[in-house]
């Protein structure tokens, strides 16, 4: 009995039939491969589904009137013009505040904050904490800092909240990009007698400008879609307003207010706004990623 079995086993091995163990291993491998491809496909499918939903619900409301009329009461044919303008103003101002500070802090970390500088490693850690801090808390922070003392919501507070949100992103990408600049470049500049600030700005920053710009643009895309920090700072506004010390409308807030409304045309505006925001944000991302690949 035993003998017969062992001969059959020998024969099986002689003619290269895979053993049970090998079959099992192959099965495991195939299952794992299949499962991981499926996992990735689900993520891709989610993206496709989101874009499809946005196009299906948002496209029908996209018209010239939507882009040029200001928000209004239900049934009055209101648009999103003030929200679009408000979003542009606030993100633009936020970028103007965050980009220089973030850039300079990134330069500090990369050029003056190498090994052994505890202050710099502290700043680096704080930037990481700030980057992972929930965005709604940044809204609460600016509310306490600006809105409560001033006594009213304002577009400037919204821009500042967005700037705080973007700051750590810009800091970390700037630092990472400057670190890629070879030390030999700095030494060459110093050897030619250039001052350190000159070396940093005209050599390091210039050769890293593409990566730095990528970071700033990605921060811009991130700010453009943020709702939570604006809820408590710029509040939203139904009328066209460009005054920085008054409540200001923005696209994400308009979407938030309209999405839960019970009026058909407001819900439609919410979807159209969602379409605009998403495609704006994704467009920046795609452009940046495509151009940084070459």
């Amino acid at each position: 009995m035993n003998n017969v079995e062992s001969t059959s086993f020998m024969m099986a091995r002689d003619c290269w039939r895979p053993s049970r163990k090998a079959m099992w291993r192959r099965l495991c491998n195939n299952c794992a491969t299949g499962a991981s491809v499926a996992a990735g496909s689900v993520l891709l499918l989610v993206l496709v589904s989101i874009l499809w939903t946005l196009l299906r619900r948002g496209l029908e409301g996209l018209s010239w009137a939507t882009l040029t009329h200001t928000m209004g009461p239900p049934g009055s044919g209101g648009g999103l013009a003030n929200a679009i303008i408000g979003s542009l103003i606030q993100t633009g101002l936020a970028l103007l505040m965050a980009a220089p500070v973030g850039l300079m802090c990134g330069i500090y970390l990369s050029e003056y904050g190498r090994k052994g500088n505890y202050f710099a490693s502290g700043v680096r850690f704080v930037a990481d904490v700030l980057m992972s801090a929930p965005s709604i808390l940044i809204g609460l922070f600016i509310y306490q800092l600006l809105v409560v003392p001033m006594g009213h919501f304002s577009g400037f507070a919204g821009a500042l909240a967005l700037a705080v949100l973007a700051l750590p992103l810009i800091v970390r990408t700037t630092e990472d990009m400057l670190r890629l600049v070879p030390t030999a470049m700095r030494e060459a500049g110093a050897a030619l007698g250039a001052a350190r600030w000159r070396v940093i700005i005209f050599l390091c920053l210039r050769s890293a400008r593409k990566g730095v710009l990528t970071g700033i643009l990605l921060a811009l895309a991130r700010m453009g879609g943020e709702t939570a920090p604006l809820l408590f700072t710029s509040l939203g506004n139904q009328t066209m307003s460009t005054a920085m010390n008054r409540p200001m409308a923005s696209l994400p807030i308009a979407i938030y207010q309209y999405a839960g409304a019970s009026y058909e045309d407001w819900v439609q505006l919410a979807w159209t706004g969602a379409l605009l925001v998403t495609f704006g944000v994704l467009l920046i991302n795609i452009t940046v990623r495509l151009s940084s690949r070459h």
Binding site: T33, V37, A120, S132, I200, G225
Partner: protein, 314 residues
């Protein structure tokens, strides 16, 4: 005579270098100050609630604006449970996707798919909320919940957990949406971590006759365990503080119970929703600030954990 201009100009340069250095330093201090200010203002804002309620603040389940009594147990549990559900879904998905991108797909295909998946991470969170409300909530309400209610209603332990009013909003729905939001993020870090495994190790595994999955399980996973845990904890930090998407799909009821399919609320969604009705200086607003402080502490702890686990390789 001839030396003078040189020294003067170098003097001038040293002067400007110092100013430049000082300017950069000030900007670095600004970053420190913004986090310091955030934590400080959150703590002082929440002080009123902390002193008024003491430890009861953490154990009370009711959030009652009428009686002006607030307890944070319900939103805290909501945050923790929805995050756990999100992690249970997102981690295997991210692991599988990273495995696919790094070791299975061809490098050109992987770079296209990887970029596309990263676009998912760039979609604003409010859009996830609307999409979830449009697609996932009806699916859960129409297909999943009737099935679960029918089959598990009388099962001893699973019954109360899996059954609930068929409205579609709730912890599981929020967990699914959160998982879709953080999975691309965890995937990106895992791709980096897997890519850092020395090729020599992988090739030796193949040389010994290992299948791809065995190589993954016995070489790559042990080698990159810390990095993977770091990625997971970072993703967790994101899920904890996510606001807008959750606000759309959690149902926003401050209650505590066993059901995973009943409407609940999370810390962040409660802050977003209650804020407009909380006048400045009220105990209600202070309670929200205290919630914010707790959320900040959770987020900090998860980041420090991720740092410690990830080591110095990042």
């Amino acid at each position: 005579m001839r030396m003078t201009p040189v020294t003067r100009s170098s003097h001038h340069r040293v002067g400007f270098d110092t100013i430049f250095h000082g300017l950069l330093w000030v900007c670095a201090v600004l970053v420190l100050a913004s986090l310091g200010g955030l934590i400080l203002l959150m703590a002082t804002g929440g002080w009123q609630a902390f002193t008024a309620f003491g430890l009861d603040f953490f154990t009370r389940t009711s959030w009652n604006p009428v009686k002006d009594i607030y307890g944070v147990l319900a939103p805290l549990l909501g945050t923790v449970v929805s995050t756990i559900i999100a992690m249970l879904i997102a981690v295997p998905m991210a692991f599988g996707t990273a495995f696919w991108l790094v070791y299975i797909a061809s490098s050109r295909f992987a770079s296209i798919v990887g970029t596309t998946i990263q676009l998912l991470a760039a979609v604003p969170s409010i859009i996830f909320g609307m999409w979830g409300f449009q697609t996932i909530v009806p699916f859960i309400a129409r297909d999943v919940q009737p099935f679960l209610n029918h089959h598990f209603r009388h099962t001893p332990i699973l019954g109360p957990i899996l059954s609930g009013p068929p409205v579609g909003t709730g912890l599981v729905t929020a967990g699914i949406i959160l998982a879709m939001m953080i999975a691309p993020f965890i995937t990106a870090v895992m791709v980096d971590v897997f890519g850092a495994v020395p090729p020599m190790l992988r090739e030796s595994a193949y040389g010994l006759g290992a299948t791809r999955w065995e190589m993954m399980r016995k070489i790559v996973v042990p080698w990159s365990r810390n990095g993977m845990i770091g990625a997971i904890v970072l993703g967790m930090g994101r899920a904890l503080g996510e606001t807008m998407a959750v606000t759309f799909i959690i149902g926003n009821v401050t209650s505590v119970g066993w059901s995973l399919f009943a409407p609940r609320s999370t810390v962040a969604s409660l802050i977003a929703l209650q804020f407009p009705e909380s006048p400045a200086g009220s105990l209600r607003l202070s309670s929200l600030m205290a919630l914010g402080f707790i959320l900040m502490v959770l987020s900090c702890v998860s980041l420090v954990l991720a740092r410690l686990l990830r080591g110095k390789r990042s």
